[in-house]
Symmetry: D2
């Protein structure tokens, strides 16, 4: 099963890059929420291409249509289905069947998986375009979670060799909503220009570049999640690794734990306003798979976009020969700006699932 997630909030995404359309069904979304359509479209616009020189010039009008589950602008509690039509496929760019498989892409693995019957055009099911319905679903969840006091922020913590500071060292009570307005959201003023320069350099080399996104979720109550298979980290990571290009995730001090002593790593408990809090937050807000009320902080590494202009070595599936491949057309030299809202959306979906699971225990 590739396209379904969740036990309490159940998502099913569908679509291929160059098919008729793509979308998402959401089962279990709470009834009665007034949808802020303007903000929903704003989120989707952050993910859409064509925003700057860093991202591909293809123009995808990501206007979703709600086929069900919404009445008079409010969620009804019934299954939501939202569809985004593909209007600009240009499949003439893509030839007749997969032949030269693109390195770093899923052309080859998709071909094996689907026995050669897959819709390969433009990446098919593997296209980053499939993240459009994810952003839509996440934006709905975010709007609901905001009413519960939950906030989700994300910034580019690293792009190539340029590194931003970390939410680990930032004030969790500060307002980070300004990050949403930045093309390359960073905590350190001016660093986005350096990042942009690094990305442009890659672009000028007909190349691409990777980075790290850091996400912080605040306002969570203690008690979400569970030990073992449905730990907060398990649920979040399952979703994050669904995002094409994510190849690693770490929570709190993450890989830094490897060289730490227990006495450094442990977060001492103390009381604050009658509430149990921790002095530090190396655990990233999660102990034993369960939220402890501190901010949940995690970082995802984003591999450089595999679509590059440089010639590459590959094979022909049709002839079984080794060939040189040159990918034409314009592609994102750096996918990070567009990945930010996707990571935020997946975070919101994860929290919603955990929230509903918790609610079932509160009876």
């Amino acid at each position: 099963m590739s396209s379904s997630f969740g036990q309490h909030l159940r998502l099913s995404i569908f679509g291929q890059s160059h098919g008729e359309g793509l979308g998402v069904t959401i089962d279990g979304f709470p009834a009665g929420m007034a949808i802020d359509t303007e903000r929903l479209l704003a989120e989707m616009a952050r993910r859409a291409p064509g925003q700057s020189a860093l991202t591909t010039a293809r123009k995808e009008p990501d206007a979703p249509e709600f086929l069900s589950g919404v009445l008079n602008g409010r969620t009804t509690g019934q299954p939501i289905c939202a569809v985004i039509r593909n209007t600009n496929q240009r499949s003439r760019d893509y030839g007749d069947g997969v032949d030269l498989v693109r390195p770093g892409h899923a052309d080859y693995t998709g071909h094996v998986r689907y026995f050669g019957f897959e819709d390969w055009r433009g990446g098919g099911s593997f296209s980053g375009r499939l993240t459009a319905p994810v952003v839509l679903a996440g934006a709905l969840c975010s709007q609901w979670l905001e009413k519960q006091g939950v906030r989700i922020a994300c910034h580019v913590q690293q792009l190539g060799s340029v590194r931003d500071s970390s939410f680990m060292d930032a004030d969790p009570c500060a307002d980070y909503s300004h990050l949403k307005a930045m093309h390359l959201p960073v905590l350190t003023a001016g660093l986005d220009a350096q990042m942009e320069a690094a990305a442009m350099e890659a672009r000028n080399d007909a190349d691409s570049i990777g980075g790290v996104l850091e996400c912080m979720i605040t306002g969570l109550p203690a008690g979400l999640g569970a030990p073992f298979f449905d730990s907060v980290e398990s649920v979040v990571s399952q979703l994050m690794f669904s995002v094409p290009a994510v190849k690693g995730i770490e929570f709190g001090a993450g890989f830094g734990f490897a060289s730490m002593r227990g006495s450094e790593a442990n977060d001492a408990f103390r009381m604050q306003d009658g509430k149990v809090v921790t002095e530090t937050n190396h655990s990233g807000g999660v102990n034993g798979g369960i939220t402890n009320g501190m901010p949940v902080v995690f970082r995802c590494v984003i591999r450089p976009t595999p679509s590059i202009g440089k010639p590459q070595q590959t094979v022909s599936l049709k002839s079984g020969t080794e060939e040189e491949l040159v990918i034409h057309g314009r592609h994102d030299p750096c996918i990070l700006p567009r990945a930010v809202p996707v990571i935020e959306a997946m975070a919101a979906i994860a929290v919603m699932e955990l929230w509903k699971e918790r609610a079932a225990c509160l009876t």
Copy 2:
């Protein structure tokens, strides 16, 4: 839901550290496999405490009893249940109810999650002891997968500041079975002694130390997994983050992708003996969530054991006051040796689930 995993192979683990017993039910395991009990017990012994100065001296006789699903030494295809009894609970060590919550542990979050009714003794459901049934289930999966040509190897890639080389630079066709016999399995001869010294140093400081485990799965066919929610990385990471102490995971080049260019990161395809292979394996054997036939390589960071001898600051749940806590008794200064078979077991469970999902497509 905390204790259930899988759609095609379904596991349910149960037990608390100091209850009557713990165990696992496994539904969907193939019929007819002769169980190699000796090797099964050997795997469980690798996880058990008391093997060396690095690990706690508590002696847990982890002898599993199969209550169902096995007849004449073979799996029957019916649900397997295996139970490990707790014989050495010593609950007198643990006092009456959680009061001073241990930093880095799940005492506090478990208390919130279970409304104060949880079996807190010895870590309850959060105890590393729960990994005993995981190792058992994984060993069964490994034995079955070996017959299909799949091999799983794991080594300590980092312990404190001591770093081993990587499977990324090793020969995937080599035999790594000797690693299973090493207390601190490493690729570089002699490095285990350095690691042991670092761990002993932490121990002598009444402290603990973390590290990184690297795992490689070879012999996988291309085509396992799926894009999005059931990607190989999603399934593997969901399981790995179920292991207490794991706080990060990366596949292939992992966080190294952040500073790479696409032209470096992409794995060029070529033909080898009529088969499609890649020149490098930065993707860690997975493209678009699906295995490409190359070794699956991933690394997990293991935080330092939170149970340390040094005094720590914490709070009393009963009085709401801030207190100093000293944890008595002997604890593992370094959990890595015992975590190795757990990571291998989770890897085997993940592959088994993916394998069965694939089989359902081959009809």
Copy 3:
């Protein structure tokens, strides 16, 4: 969760009667099947209204559009999404919000379930119109199963007091494809006219009438299903009770078992052409939850359509008073003809799920 089914074949249906559209996503459908569109539309036409005096005159153009999962007329193995747009909603018939709840309908329970936010128009999520995507999904499954030799037939076994003979007494090897062409499919020639007369009589009384549908699935291998929660009967019944109006189901001798002795009820085994078969088929093709290779036979009772022209007693949700309700407009006096393809579709979906589950065991 209301709208998702299956572990190996995963369906998610969406839509409300008077929303923008409805449809289904199908995850896990086999790759490479050429869709026979003509037969698919023929199945959907059987379910559509307006075929005769027995069924409502509303005209719903149930033309599905495949948004994903199909390329060049073949399934790709990727998630399928098919959408049917609502073009003829006439919501002016339905007023502003639920007030007088219709007896036998879900107006009241839906109001409670969705906290008053539900899309109540025309029955909302509860409308029989939701069975259109079910028929679509079932038709795809049927086409695939036919290639494996599976055949599904259904007839009206009872309508009011008119009773047809049973598949239990019929030749399972005969060809029953002619039933699909009959408006009221029956095994006994001429009985459909009697049934039609009974239905017209109810209609002339501004009333409706119920009945029983009997379904037979032939060509199944022995070994599908499992004891307990995923028994053939459990899977089939879960799906059948998803069909609005179904209030009972029985397999094989069904409720007739109550007055039977074991010596009558047991189906003696014998050999036929080297194959194990049973002399009788009181078990309806299932022993211990698993197919035994004989035809699976079951019957579903269909309650009379609750929408009738006669005045009825009900309450006003708005004022809390008791009121008389008269439902205007034209409604089916007998839903059985339109329910036949729905029952067949659900049967096909059930078998497909069981088939794939079995395939995962055959590795």
Copy 4:
């Protein structure tokens, strides 16, 4: 998957009739419930054999042991595992491998399903003995649901040709707890003696006899369940068909709907003490898959026990020849008395799952 049920309350049962033991894991059970052990054991005793001449004389000491999830007599919220050991297997009665498959049993289908590796002894996974852990799980759920005001009652509505009156015609507010103390619970005084006579007659003929059980659940709030795949009827029927011997189920008027007009079938709404109720309850408490606050009433048909003393025709799996089979030993001529607590238990499990699903919506 044979042995797992539920999304919100997750059960996994395991065991074979003549293995070491059987049991159940329960994930998601509420924390903090004091278990009434005496009543739990009383429920299990109702299901146990050897209570009267009607049931087999085998003595199974069904004493469950809680391995986890219970502390100081209270549920902890953590996964519960309860084990019942098999102490009286007498596998010497059962010979070496399945050969002559018993008509009406799962010997043949189990052999196909598990490729000949199944634990066939005493029915293996298909044994009615597997209902012991079901009764245990159901008794826990019942105790919890009682605190919410839910009551579950069950009686023998038919045994052979002897018919009791129906809950449909009984006062739903009456106290039916006395039924639990009756060996053959009936609503009509004295009818149990007639039923017993009918069962003894079958026994004296070395035969068995079937019947119908009727179950009523009162005290349910309106709003449990959902349209389509998780309708109340879908959830209940999935569980009921897990009970060996159940071959049919009907809700409310059930198969009686077939000969009813809509005007008879519809349950008129009226107000009672400011609450919406229905005048009649033909719908059996469920509209559109959702509870309407009226009692949920359903009937299950129980086929006559297939184990009978009369000679039967069957085949030898080993030689492929047709043979006569005589089943020795003592068996229940009528399983209905022992099936009553199983049906009640399954009903409690169903309601618990629906209750928790509902709770997740109430956030």
